[in-house]
Symmetry: C2
Subunit: 387 residues, 2 copies
């Protein structure tokens, strides 16, 4: 890993070629003649072109050698050409639907030989898979390549973290008792969007979205109950913040448990246990450890402290060109951490009637340990906001 | 069709039961014991619960009688319960990934008998389809049900149209030569969001998004080349606007070709031909006509006027709980229009060096014709904005 620095430039052709080459090594291991990508996330990773999935399919056909071919609706060809930054051939089709013989699948079927071995994504819709010629093998090798980040990707992730750091700073300034969710959302996302525009004037808005929200104590025990826009902030806590985003294609998050004015007595112990569990996760998160072992150790610690019934999610998940992806720091995920992985570390405790306790950061696994890329107050004294 | 009025309330349990009953009629026709929905759009349609697809699957298992069962990650159960407005049973699973025997597919496989006939969506990821028990039949019967709107859906669509109408009014006020794309986006979407919050304080933001943008003459010939935020508006035209949105789950659009100060001489004829093609489409868009016939007639008219080489898309597409769905007013789509369908009507002409020409409206097919639900200036005199 070279010296870490923030990057805001689009990927070079070389960066994208390297990704393709890594994919082709995995294709060769499985004797694949082609790999087909339909998942817009994977197409973005390989080409820098982002699309919404709708009824007009975009399909990237990657032969084991030579230039990949993108099948696109005629209407979208210039859009792809504008954003893609790798060598691509195109096969454009008329429209969807189209007169007989001119539909996308009429062209698609000519691109691949019937006896070819063709890798496809597990996310591929069955309706596309059924039209895919050749002997199909479901294998998520692009996700595999995406697990380990290049220096370029790390640089983009560092930049994305600076954006959410800024958002979180604003969030802690505006979050006061009585303030509505919507005001927090507006102020926080507004600040992040301003920074994105300043830093990345040509940002691709299809892969840019920012979120800034707080779960006040009334609902913080329930981390996936989305707050309404009129949800009011309260005295005390625990409040739990989420500031996350996909910043021109790079997903990160920073989340904090904090208190307005004071910490209720009954929140003290779970907060401390959460910090302890988190410290353990950081201590363990080094290259070579099996990820499920981290989750098991964290669960054990929380259980030993008496809060085992209040664990409702894993310790962390991967980050990359999305905000939620492999690898997973979870029981059942028996893969080793490696340098260049980026993960969230966020053990949580959720107690109905008391509230939720979770800090989350975006963390790079380095050659000998880990490095937090997001920054926000952590310790109890720093997360009790004076009013 | 009853009297048309704007509706902003969530769907009643009866509305959702009716949708389910329509689905079950189609299930019976295909002798399906179960239908499985994974597509978040279809799950939203049947339950009013909206989710993002990520690595933790949500799967709706619909037996041919009795209460449907939603398989959800433990973490999300309360989220589903908060939003779903139909009767549902739940099967919640531990986490993704999970220890052996506790993964989602371990539970999923117990919900369906091996000899059952099971309908699945063509959009279902092959990785989910492979874990689906029973004899699988790919059949998009929920899309089929969605084609014809209930009075409730029409009422929600009318409300959504009022939101984009407001956005478009603001857009025409702020769009002046030299103004940047970003300012137009901010003003237009800001006005729409304000209206959404006022009208629907409990709007579900997962299915709410608004867009307000203008393709200035430099790029208006290329309708799917997304403008950058620093794109500048110009004198003259054609400028082409897009104001669209999914408003608490109902997708609509209004788009206009307009001119700032004056219309360039060479834009006059294509503008008039576009209006003529559009008038023809409205004249034809009545219950009983085969949709491809409309598209063919429109293409023929444009071709006869000398602009056949400048058609790059179909005449229209369906609208509903998304902004792009079946039915399609397109060659190759040989289904009849029916009362209760909602479609865009938007024949377009795109000439490099001159620009793009397209008006789009969200249009309800009525018992004896059609009714535009969006409203914005249409005729030449009204779309030349005085400076």
């Amino acid at each position: 890993m070279s010296k870490l620095k923030s990057i805001t430039t689009p990927p070079s052709q070389e960066e994208l070629s390297n990704r393709l080459e890594k994919l082709r090594i995995l294709m060769a291991q499985q004797n694949l003649d082609y790999y087909i990508s339909f998942d817009p996330v994977n197409i973005y990773y390989l080409t820098n072109f982002a699309n919404y999935v709708h009824e007009r399919p975009f399909i990237l056909v990657i032969p084991n050698a030579g230039i990949p071919k993108m099948m696109v609706p005629l209407l979208e060809k210039v859009h792809v050409e504008t954003r893609a930054r790798c060598e691509l051939d195109y096969m454009s089709y008329y429209e969807f639907p189209a007169p007989e013989g001119k539909n996308w699948y009429d062209y698609y079927s000519t691109l691949i030989e019937d006896d070819a071995r063709v890798g496809i994504e597990s996310a591929m819709p069955i309706g596309i898979a059924e039209k895919t010629p050749g002997k199909k093998i479901v294998t998520d090798i692009i996700e595999e390549v995406r697990l380990i980040k290049s220096d370029y990707e790390i640089g983009r992730t560092i930049h994305a973290c600076r954006v959410v750091n800024k958002g979180h700073k604003v969030l802690l300034k505006v979050c006061r008792p009585g303030v509505l969710e919507f005001a927090i959302y507006q102020e926080t996302t507004g600040a992040m969007i301003k920074k994105i525009i300043a830093d990345l004037p040509n940002a691709n808005m299809i892969v840019t979205r920012v979120v800034g929200a707080v779960w006040p104590p009334k609902i913080s025990h329930d981390p996936h109950k989305v707050p309404t826009i009129f949800q009011e902030m309260e005295d005390g806590g625990p409040h739990v913040s989420i500031v996350s985003g996909q910043i021109d294609g790079y997903g990160v998050e920073v989340e904090r448990t904090f208190f307005l004015g004071f910490i209720p007595e009954k929140a003290k112990s779970p907060f401390e246990v959460m910090l302890e569990a988190r410290a353990l996760a950081y201590e363990l998160a080094k290259p070579g450890i099996i990820m499920s072992e981290i989750d098991k150790a964290v669960r054990k610690l929380i259980t030993n402290r008496g809060y085992g019934d209040y664990i409702i999610h894993r310790t962390g998940h991967g980050l990359g060109i999305t905000g939620h992806e492999a690898p997973y720091i979870a029981e059942g995920y028996d893969r080793k951490l490696e340098p260049g992985m980026v993960v969230s570390i966020e053990p949580g405790i959720y107690i109905p009637g008391i509230g939720g306790f979770r800090h989350s950061d975006s963390v790079l696994i380095t050659d000998d340990g880990n490095m937090k890329l997001t920054r926000a107050p952590e310790e109890l004294d720093d997360v009790i906001i004076s009013l």
